[in-house]
Symmetry: C2
Subunit: 347 residues, 2 copies
């Protein structure tokens, strides 16, 4: 297989590196001269004959002007894209005569569209989901080529219809981004003196609000039609809460509905979320403390599912909270107490 990758950002260059690691022929193309040079230096390859596969690894907003040209240059090649919205590019593909049987849309759930070639890694896709969105016109052979490529990177291929993909990411990725940004926007109303009281809840809920506004401008605008009804549903739920805010039972039902939603989010290994116990431990804020702690976890034979670190304002100690099974929490708690750690109550 000979692959031509158009777009030398994080995704395109990572694909190039992964293909070179497999000893395949790869050609890197980018209209940005700096990116192009770096990607070619990194991947260091060229094609001995026209490409069998053309990867469109560029912002979806630039796709339109590139596709027709690439199709003329490579009239027999298989095409794929890697953008985070899938219906819009499919419409543009379908408008080009003869291309749609040779095209399969895709979306690697890894890294970010930003980052550039300097951030690329051959193993970026290892173990990550990679959604494929073949259209009704996509030929079986095209799908086979694209699936084979994705799986050769160690990614897990998941087939979905383009429209379903866009609905799913609207709910699972785009709506959380908007919700987080909406909440974080309210913090601009805070008295600065209050902010040292910010707790882990606020921090967790606003973490993704730090994302790049330009990147999200493109993603959200490409998936407007799927996001809009979700925003309206969220607005309607919020309006209901406000108009029933004098009713204690309505408040309890609102919080309980959210709790029901979190129960549906899968935990480890794609299974249903398990009920974890949380074990908080006060540690000194210095290098080596975490190593010692996880050494203890290994000695105790427990499996840490997740963890978070919290720092008290003005203090040089930290609170680390480990998520473990109930049994492991109890085992580890006992083990750590015996060994002199400042273990707090299991929650």
């Amino acid at each position: 297989m000979r692959v031509r990758i158009v777009g030398s950002g994080l995704i395109g260059t990572s694909m190039g590196l992964a293909l070179r690691a497999q000893g395949r022929e790869v050609e890197m193309v980018d209209s940005n001269l700096g990116n192009s040079r770096l990607a070619n230096d990194l991947v260091a390859s060229s094609l001995s004959a026209p490409a069998n596969l053309v990867v469109l690894a560029l912002p979806t907003s630039n796709l339109n002007k590139i596709i027709a040209r690439e199709n003329k240059l490579n009239p027999n090649s298989v095409f794929m894209d890697v953008g985070s919205v899938k219906v819009k590019p499919q419409v543009e593909i379908d408008a080009i005569s003869g291309l749609s049987p040779r095209f399969c849309g895709s979306h690697p759930m890894a890294g970010r569209e930003s980052g550039g070639p300097e951030a690329a890694r051959a193993d970026l896709f290892d173990g990550r989901p990679w959604i494929l969105t073949p259209s009704r016109s996509t030929s079986a052979q095209t799908l086979q080529v694209v699936r084979g490529l994705v799986e050769s990177f160690g990614a897990i291929a998941i087939e979905m219809q383009a429209e379903e993909h866009d609905r799913a990411v609207a709910l699972l990725s785009h709506l959380p981004q908007i919700s987080s940004s909406l909440l974080a926007g309210q913090i601009t109303r805070a008295n600065l003196d209050w902010l040292p009281l910010s707790g882990q809840g606020l921090r967790d809920s606003t973490r993704i609000a730090r994302s790049d506004p330009k990147l999200w401008r493109e993603i959200l605008s490409l998936n407007r039609s799927q996001i809009r009804p979700l925003l309206e549903a969220m607005q309607s739920d919020l309006a209901d809460l406000i108009s029933n805010f004098d009713d204690d039972s309505a408040i309890e039902e609102f919080i309980a509905k959210g709790k029901g939603g979190t129960d549906a989010i899968p935990g480890k290994h794609g299974g249903k979320a398990r009920e974890y116990s949380y074990l908080p431990i006060v540690i000194e804020d210095k290098a080596g403390q975490l190593a010692s702690l996880f050494q203890e976890c290994a000695h105790a034979g427990v499996n840490v599912e997740d963890l978070s670190i919290e720092h008290s304002p003005g203090q040089f100690t930290g609170l680390i909270t480990l998520s473990l099974s109930r049994l492991d929490s109890e085992k580890l708690s006992e083990h750590l107490i015996v060994n002199g750690w400042k273990v707090q109550a299991i929650r």
Copy 2:
């Protein structure tokens, strides 16, 4: 000092344990016989004379009926409460003749009001902020007693007016809870097949939506008047976004405003949030891997600021992302690569 603690939940019993560890006289009281017995077994103390300090460590909704009785029993004692809303109890205190000079409201930013005596720890308050809300009537001596107690637990006393406290927690704690529950409530609309695609953004944003609905019913209903205008402001921002959702620049401004809000949230040690780098590492999902990783961090002499663990659906590998300074990220990345770790690109 002799302390009478009314209410043997997590906070009350933890205070009892901390006082006993200091060798002080403590009396534990609870109308729930099981809690009362356990708390007394744990704290194992009694008073040699009437209490100098009475701690009201019970749900604010039960405060009203308890205060008058306790004031009659202890007409010369200093009183404090530990609830998470401060204006309402102050109103009830002010209604009792002669009590307000001897009362100081307070709110330890530690643990949860739920949990019960079995979850209590003497070191629960160590290094955590503890807000004091003296009223205009609170005597200097009362404030001194309460501040002394709080600081003896290793907590950091922060004085605020009750109304300002309630405004601050409405924004920094109650609004994030509602926002997280609101988002999580939308997930109930998801196709179950999509849920394995849930990423870290959704998980972070909905983590606190797992909280206890009954607990939040009480907290939110007690602070209605401070929360309502925040909900209305959030609703107004959401309505603006929806009505301008066809305008790409409006979307970018909305995301940028949220990013501005996150910049105001302090990072470690109460200072302004630093710009961290994120170093993702693929690890095998087994006990001991985290220990080895943090051993490497210690060898490299780097300081891990925060971290998260993400599991790919259906895979028995995990992705751990460390937050470090840019310099430490580069140092650690090089060190780990040399030692054979699957290090991803610094973000």
